[in-house]
Amino acid sequence: MATLTPTLTLVSTDLSDDELNFSVTDSLTVTAPHIATARTSVTTTGANNIIQPATDGQTYYVYVKHTGLDAGGSAVSTTLGIELTGDVVIGKLAAGEFMFMPVGGHSLGVQLQSSGGTIVAEYAYFTKG
């Protein structure tokens, strides 16, 4: 068992008259297996880019970032699809964007899919202990 500390901060000085300055953190107990962290070149076929194994009653904490680069190191503006295995779309990341969320309650994994060409994604997952 290990301790994982994720912190999210949201800041804006001009979204409204009142400044947004918000932070939330947690202390998570995690265990094997985990990947922290890795990069992969994502193609347009989600089934070929599975980054988290299918859940089997456990919860995985999953982090994904769109690096804004393709496999050759060139900048890209294509979007990175976040999907459950079986091509169930959850959402899309533009270049530079990231997400962190728990995945579980079903028997599916997580896969990534580029909207065109390749996208280098940074990812990590941790098994809830």
Partner: protein, 141 residues
């Protein structure tokens, strides 16, 4: 134009022996394919009960491929209380006590609402924020 910055830090001192983990990422919340920031935000807090089943945290936006972001936190301190989070009929995962998520939400179809459901008895408290590209006020009844 609003500038909102989201930053995440994920650290661990004992996940890998002799190699502390430190993941850091930051991005500005932009409207799809532009350099214009998201200007609409809903924030709030509430309580869920198991009896209420799944509730829509926000109705579907119905606009294809827009950039929207969702933050949800299970603010309960009871380790037995968790919140099931889904997009329409797709279960994404379970938020345990104190856990939070930050995820994109850009589903285009009209029935892809964000929903949450308490999975234990008693009241489960939560807080949320949704950053949106667009929103059309519902028609009067």
């Amino acid at each position: 134009m609003a500038t909102t910055t989201a930053t995440v830090s994920i650290t661990s001192a004992d996940l890998m022996p002799g190699m502390p983990l430190a993941i850091n990422a930051s991005s500005q919340l932009m409207q799809t394919g532009t350099t214009t920031g998201l200007e609409l935000m809903d924030m709030g807090a509430g309580k869920l009960t198991e009896a209420s089943a799944a509730d829509a945290l926000h109705e579907a936006l119905g606009t294809a491929d827009t950039a929207n972001w969702v933050y949800i936190c299970n603010t309960s301190t009871n380790d037995e209380q968790y919140i099931k989070v889904g997009i329409h009929d797709t279960i994404i995962g379970n938020l345990g006590a104190g856990e939070w998520l930050w995820m994109p939400w850009n589903m285009g179809t009209a029935d892809n609402e964000i929903n949450i459901e308490a999975e234990t008895s008693g009241s489960v408290t939560y807080e949320y924020a949704i950053f949106k590209s667009t929103y059309t006020l519902p028609a009067k009844t």
